[in-house]
C-alpha cells in the first residue's frame, strides 16, 4: 500500500513543471498580469516593467498586455488613477480656462530626469496599440507596424479602456513638461513664469512634439470616452472638452497657415514654409515620432498649439491661455 502511494506521488511530481511568467500559456499570461499589478501595488514600477515588457514585445501580446504595459509606465508617471479622477472632479473651476494648465503642473510635479513625461508618452504608445479586435485599420494611420504592437492614431480604432486611460497618461506628459519648461509658481496658482519654448516650427523638438501630441491625444481621448463616464468626472471631462476641443483644432490651423491671430500680443507665427490650411490637427501630430519626421505641417501645427497655450487671446471672454508672463 505504501509503495502504491509513493508511486502516486512520484508520478504526479514528475509530470508537472512550475508555471512561468513568459505569457506563452493563458495561465502564465494571467500570472504575469497579476504579478505586474502586484508590483505596482507596492510601488515597484521597475519590477512591473521588467515582468510585462517581455510579453508586450512578444507574439503573446494582446490588449490586456498592452493596458498593463501602459499601467507600468503609468506607475513611472506617478499616476494614481482614482485620486486623480477625484481631483479633477473636485477642481472643475480650474478646468474651464487657462488654470487647467497650471492644475496639470500641480498634479504632475516633475524634474528633467525623472522620466514622468516620457513614461506618459510611452504609455500612450501602448494604448494606441490596444485596438478594437476585428476592426479594419487604415495603414496610413498606423505606427510601429514592424512590432507586435502596431498602434492607431485614430481614437475610434481603440478600445474604450485605452482611450480612457490615455486621458490620464496624456495629462501626466503635459503636466510634467509644464513643470520642466514653464517653471510654474506654486504660490500663484501654478501660473507659468516662463513661456513654453516651442513657439515656431523650427523650435519644435522632440519634447515639443511630445507635448503637442499629448495635448491632441488628451482632447481625442476625452472626446471618445467622456459620454461613458458619469457624475462629477463627466462634468469635469466635458468642461475640458468644451473649453479646448475646438480651440486646439483652430490653433493647429493657425500654425499651419503661419498666421498670428493676436498681432499686438505675444503669439508668434509658426514660420511655416508650407502654408497649407489644416482644418483639423494633422493625424500625424498624435504621434511624437511622426510629428518630428513629417513635413513642416506637423511641426507648424505643434507650434500653433504651443502658442495657444502660451498666449491665446480670450475665447468668448474666457482666458484659455496658461496665465503667466
Amino acid at each position: 500500500m505504501l509503495r502504491a502511494y509513493a508511486l502516486f506521488f512520484a508520478l504526479f511530481a514528475a509530470s508537472c513543471s512550475a508555471p512561468s511568467l513568459d505569457g506563452s500559456t493563458p495561465l502564465s499570461k494571467r500570472a504575469a498580469l497579476e504579478a505586474t499589478s502586484n508590483a505596482i501595488n507596492f510601488g515597484d514600477c521597475f519590477t512591473a516593467l521588467q515582468v510585462i515588457e517581455p510579453i508586450y514585445e512578444s507574439a503573446n501580446t494582446d490588449n490586456d498586455t498592452r493596458l498593463m504595459m501602459a499601467s507600468a509606465y503609468g506607475c513611472h508617471a506617478n499616476i494614481n488613477l482614482i485620486p486623480l479622477a477625484l481631483s479633477l472632479s473636485e477642481n472643475t473651476d480650474r478646468l474651464v480656462g487657462g488654470d487647467f494648465w497650471g492644475l496639470l503642473a500641480e498634479l504632475f510635479p516633475s524634474t528633467s530626469d525623472d522620466r514622468v513625461a516620457e513614461s506618459g508618452a510611452l504609455a500612450n504608445d501602448a494604448l494606441m496599440a490596444a485596438t478594437i479586435p476585428g476592426w479594419p485599420l487604415v495603414p496610413a494611420n498606423l505606427i510601429n507596424t514592424n512590432t507586435f504592437n502596431p498602434g492607431s492614431l485614430i481614437k475610434s480604432d481603440r478600445i474604450t479602456d485605452a482611450n480612457f486611460y490615455m486621458i490620464f497618461t496624456s495629462m501626466a506628459t503635459i503636466g510634467a513638461l509644464n513643470n520642466r519648461y514653464g517653471t510654474p509658481d506654486a504660490a500663484s496658482n501654478y501660473d507659468q513664469t516662463v513661456r513654453l519654448p516651442w513657439r515656431t516650427a523650427d523650435d519644435v523638438d522632440t519634447d515639443g512634439c511630445m507635448y503637442a501630441s499629448a495635448v491632441l491625444n488628451l482632447v481625442d481621448a476625452i472626446d471618445q470616452t467622456s459620454a461613458q463616464t458619469t457624475g462629477a468626472l463627466q462634468v469635469a471631462l466635458e468642461s475640458i472638452s468644451a473649453t479646448f476641443g475646438t480651440s486646439i483644432q483652430s490653433a493647429c490651423d493657425i500654425g499651419c497657415q503661419n498666421l498670428d491671430p493676436d498681432l499686438v500680443g505675444e503669439w508668434q507665427a509658426s514660420g511655416c514654409t508650407v502654408t497649407t490650411a489644416c482644418a483639423l490637427c494633422p493625424t500625424a501630430l498624435r504621434n511624437r515620432d511622426t510629428c518630428m519626421a513629417a513635413t513642416d505641417q506637423t511641426r507648424c501645427a505643434a507650434a500653433g498649439i504651443i502658442n495657444f497655450i502660451n498666449d491665446s487671446p480670450d475665447v468668448a471672454g474666457l482666458q484659455v491661455a496658461w496665465p503667466g508672463p
Partner: protein
C-alpha cells in the same frame, strides 16, 4: 491497488485543465470548518456531515443518526479584521463609491456567512445551504485592477452512500456515494474596468448581482478504507463535485466549477484520541497552478477537543474545535491564493463555526 492509482492518475492528467473557466481563486461551494482546519484535505477521510458536500461516499461511514439544526460559519479576511481593530470599519459605511474603492487599494477584503443545517442517517444525508459572500480585491493604483464579489447562494443537497465491501463481510471497506443538489444563485465576482470604477455607486452592486438563476448539480465519490488493524486504517478517496459545472441558466450568476479531487489519508485510534492525517489533490480539472491543488492536514481528536493543522495550497492552516455533545464550536485560520500562481497573493482568513446538534 498500485495499478488502480496509476490508472486514476492517467485519467486525471487527461482531464486536467478541461474546465471551461479560468480560475484564480479556487472557490468552493462549501467550506467545511473541520476540513479547512486540516488544510482543506478531506476527500479520503471525511465521514461526518461535511461528507454531504465534500465526498458523498463518506456518508456510508456514518454510524448514527444526527441533526445539525443550526450550523453557521462566519469568515472574514485579515484585512477586515485589521480594519476593525484599527477602528476603521470596512470602509463601506459610506456606501460604494470611487472614494471607498480607493481606500480598498492594496487590500483583500472578504467576508462570508454560510449556514448549513443537515440531517444525517446511516447511508443518507440531506442539507440546506445558505451562503452569502462579499469581497473587494483591489490592486494597481496606476490602472486599478479591482474585483468586486457579491454573491448569494441558497440550495438543497442530498447524498447517498453505501459500503460495498462491508456487505461481503470484508474487513476493508469500499464506499461509493452519489449526491444531488439544486441551487439558486445571484451574483458572483466581477472584475471592473477603470472606467467602471470611476462611475461606481451603491446601485452598481445590483448590476453586479444581477438576477437569480437556478442550477442543478451531481456529485460522485468513492472511498477505500484499508483496515490494517483495529486501530490503524489507511484511506484513499476520490470525489467529483459539481460534475460538468453547475450553471444558472441565462442569469449572470457565477457558475459553480466542477471539482475533481483525489486524496489519501490514515487514521490511528489510541484509546480516547484519534489521529487523522490526510492529503488531497484538488481542483484537478481547473486551469491553475498545479501547486495550488495540494492540501495537507492533520487532526488530533480528543473526547471534547480537537486540534487541527495543515497546509492549504502550501499556506499554513490551523484550528481548534470544541465539541460538547449538543453544540460544537470550531475556530480556524487558513490562507487562500487569489492570484493565478502560488505565493502571488495569499489572503489570510479567519473562520468561526457554531453548530447546534443532536445525535442518536
Amino acid at each position: 491497488m498500485a495499478r488502480a492509482l496509476v490508472a486514476s492518475f492517467i485519467l486525471i492528467q487527461s482531464l486536467a485543465s478541461t474546465s471551461a473557466f479560468a480560475e484564480e481563486e479556487l472557490r468552493e461551494l462549501f467550506r467545511g470548518a473541520r476540513a479547512q482546519a486540516m488544510g482543506g484535505a478531506s476527500v479520503a477521510v471525511v465521514n461526518d456531515e461535511e461528507a454531504l458536500f465534500l465526498n458523498p461516499a463518506g456518508i456510508a461511514g456514518l454510524t448514527k443518526y444526527g441533526v445539525q439544526y443550526f450550523a453557521s460559519d462566519f469568515e472574514v479576511s485579515s484585512d477586515v479584521v485589521n480594519s476593525f481593530l484599527n477602528g476603521g470599519g470596512t470602509g463601506l459605511a459610506g456606501g460604494l463609491s470611487s472614494d471607498t474603492i480607493s481606500s480598498f487599494m492594496g487590500k483583500d477584503t472578504y467576508g462570508r456567512v454560510q449556514i448549513t443545517p443537515t440531517v444525517l442517517m446511516t447511508n443518507f444525508a440531506f442539507g440546506v445551504l445558505l451562503d452569502g459572500q462579499a469581497a473587494v480585491y483591489a490592486k494597481n493604483p496606476a490602472l486599478p485592477n479591482v474585483t468586486v464579489g457579491y454573491q448569494t447562494t441558497t440550495g438543497i443537497q442530498a447524498a447517498y452512500g453505501v459500503s460495498v465491501l462491508k456487505r461481503r463481510r470484508s474487513k476493508h471497506d469500499l464506499r461509493v456515494g452519489v449526491g444531488a443538489k439544486m441551487l439558486w444563485r445571484r451574483g458572483g465576482y466581477r472584475k471592473l474596468s477603470a472606467l467602471e470604477l470611476t462611475s461606481i455607486s451603491a446601485d452598481s452592486l445590483s448590476s453586479i448581482a444581477g438576477g437569480w438563476g437556478t442550477g442543478y448539480g451531481v456529485d460522485l465519490g468513492v472511498q477505500y478504507v484499508n483496515t490494517i488493524n483495529q486501530k490503524f486504517k489507511v484511506n484513499w478517496g476520490m470525489a467529483w463535485a459539481n460534475i460538468g459545472d453547475v450553471t444558472f441558466g441565462s442569469s449572470d450568476a457565477d457558475p459553480v466549477a466542477g471539482n475533481l479531487s483525489m486524496g489519501v489519508g490514515s487514521t490511528l485510534e489510541t484509546g480516547k484520541a484519534k489521529i487523522t492525517l490526510a492529503y488531497d489533490y484538488r481542483h484537478m480539472t481547473a486551469d491553475t497552478d498545479y501547486r495550488k491543488r495540494n492540501h495537507f492536514g492533520a487532526e488530533l481528536a480528543l473526547p471534547i477537543l480537537s486540534l487541527s493543522a495543515g497546509l492549504n495550497q502550501w499556506n499554513l492552516a490551523y484550528g481548534v474545535g470544541f465539541d460538547a455533545w449538543l453544540f460544537r464550536i470550531t475556530a480556524l485560520s487558513y490562507a487562500e491564493e487569489i492570484d493565478p500562481l502560488l505565493s502571488q497573493d495569499a489572503s489570510r482568513r479567519w473562520m468561526l463555526k457554531i453548530a447546534l446538534k443532536a445525535g442518536f
